[in-house]
Amino acid sequence: MSYINQASWDRIVRIALGIILLYLGWAGVVPGGLGVFLKVIGFVPLITGLVGWCPLYALLKVRTNKV
C-alpha cells in the first residue's frame, strides 16, 4: 500500500514501545503527571505502528521502507 512509510522492523518497534509506555502509565508503574502523560503518549507509537504511516516521516519526506 502506497501510504505506508515504515519498514516492518520500524512498526514492530513502535508497537512494542507503545505497549510498554501504555503499561507504564495504565498499570500505575509510573505515578503522577508523568503517568498520565504516558497513558496518552503511548497511543502515538502504537497507532502509527499499526497503521504503518508516520506523519513526522511524511513531513520530513523520509521513509524506512522501500518504495
Partner: protein
C-alpha cells in the same frame, strides 16, 4: 469430474465460469447452495455455474489448491480471477460472478499476514493491559477495535455490510485486477 476433463472443458468454455466445490455432508456448502443457484440463474448466458463434488474429484480439488470447502472459484478465460472460502453471504458470492464477468475483483484483497499478526499481538497486549489496569474501559475498547481490525476481512457480518456502507457513503470500492 476428472482433472484433465475439467481443465479441457474450462479452457474451451466460451463464457466465464464460477465453480462451486462442495460435498453432500458439508453443511455450509448446503447453506450457500440456494444463493449460488439463484446467482447462476441471474447470470445465465453470461457466466456458467458448475458444481464439483469434492469427494468424487479429489485430484481436481488438489490441483485447484482447495484445502477446505465450500470454496467458490471464479474463472475468466480459463484463468482464476478470484476465490472465496467458507460460507459467504449472497452479496459476496455475487461479487465472484461479477469478478468472473469483468475480470475485476470488487472486494478488498484482505490483510497482509504481517499486518494481521501485528494487529493481533497489539490487540492482545492491550486486552491484557486493560484487564490488569482496573479493568480500564478505554483500553478494553481500544483492544476490541484493534482485534477487530485484525480479522474484519474474515467477518461475514462485515462482508455483508461493507458494500452497503460503501454505497451509502459513495466511497469507491478497492479494485484489483488479477
Amino acid at each position: 469430474m476428472e482433472k484433465e476433463a475439467f481443465f479441457e472443458k474450462l479452457h474451451q468454455n466460451p463464457r466465464p465460469v464460477v465453480v462451486d466445490i462442495w460435498a453432500p455432508w458439508c453443511m455450509p456448502c448446503r447453506a450457500i447452495a440456494p444463493s449460488l443457484e439463484s446467482l447462476g440463474g441471474q447470470f445465465d448466458g453470461r457466466v456458467d455455474y458448475w458444481k464439483v463434488n469434492a469427494d468424487e474429484s479429489l485430484d481436481l480439488v488438489q490441483s485447484l489448491g482447495v484445502r477446505s470447502i465450500p470454496t467458490v472459484i471464479a474463472f475468466r478465460g480459463g484463468q482464476e480471477v478470484a476465490r472465496r472460502i467458507g460460507a459467504q453471504p449472497k452479496i459476496a458470492l455475487g461479487e465472484l460472478f461479477e469478478a468472473a464477468l469483468t475480470g475485476a475483483v470488487q472486494f478488498e484483497p484482505g490483510l497482509a499476514p504481517l499486518q494481521r499478526m501485528l494487529r493481533l499481538i497489539a490487540g492482545a497486549g492491550l486486552l491484557i493491559l486493560g484487564w490488569q489496569a482496573g479493568p480500564s474501559i478505554i483500553l478494553l475498547a481500544v483492544s476490541g477495535v484493534v482485534l477487530f481490525s485484525a480479522v474484519y476481512d474474515r467477518c461475514p457480518v462485515w462482508r455483508a455490510l461493507s458494500p452497503r456502507l460503501a454505497r451509502l457513503f459513495h466511497r469507491p470500492q478497492a479494485t484489483q485486477v488479477k
